[in-house]
Symmetry: C2
Subunit: 151 residues, 2 copies
């Protein structure tokens, strides 16, 4: 599902963007991929790491996530709940949001992205360089326990 990244690939990516490949950065990134689909906040990453890495500090997690976003290694997720949430998924994708359970489900569909991107391209926005579009679908799960599936 998520492309697993080896530590060597990760080290390369880090130095490619000018960041030192420290142990902390590696395990923070791995925690993010382990939490794939959960769009975790910094605290959640920290909690996941603490058992195996008791000396890591929450401040470092915050700084690390910031530096990852700044260098484009990860992205922040749009949310209305107010916290900063992170996502390793750089492929354009949409989110399905259940206002009941507060779940955010990734939904990848190139067709949808093309549809919306084309729409804006045709609109000829002046003074604006479009880089990406995000679509969020809002609603509620009928069965809060069940999964959302697409036929």
């Amino acid at each position: 599902m998520t492309n697993a990244v080896t530590r060597n690939e990760l080290k390369q990516r880090l130095s490619a963007v000018g960041l030192k490949a420290t142990h902390q950065r590696i395990v923070v990134y791995e925690a993010l991929t382990a939490l794939h689909g959960h769009h975790p906040v910094a605290e959640a990453v920290y909690q996941l790491l603490k058992p195996a890495h008791p000396t890591i500090s929450l401040g470092t997690v915050y700084k690390t996530l910031d530096s990852f976003v700044e260098t484009g290694l990860i992205k922040r997720v749009l949310t209305e709940a107010g916290g900063k949430r992170y996502d390793t998924n750089l492929v354009p994708h949409s989110h399905i949001y259940c206002s009941n359970t507060k779940e955010i489900l990734d939904y990848e569909d190139a067709e949808l992205d093309a549809l919306v991107t084309d729409f804006f391209r045709k609109k000829n926005l002046e003074n604006f360089d479009m880089s990406s579009v995000s679509v969020q679908l809002n609603g509620v799960k009928k069965d809060p326990e069940g999964k959302i599936s697409i036929k």
Copy 2:
């Protein structure tokens, strides 16, 4: 542009959703409409109100905004910056976001909403009741001082 709401209309709307029509709620709502397009945080609403209403408290502004969202009088705006931002505009609309200036511009276009809504309707999502879609267009203004316009 924004439909100006008279105080009487506002009082009616408040009681319609089960909230007492207090002075504070009325001026908070008016501040929100005055800040239309700015998607303000609670603090900004408070600052705008303070000169004319020196006794209003920030806590009340927070509680008021919460109760407005809960009752559907206003909406929270999707953001990746982490704070809670508010919008009186209940009409489905999109946002154009400049990652440089951090501006969020409203973009109302029924055609776009229909396009995306239809797309998902055809997808036949199982176990999900769709209520709305939000589109955010990301990019940067070529001239940070200029306006974005649509031909």
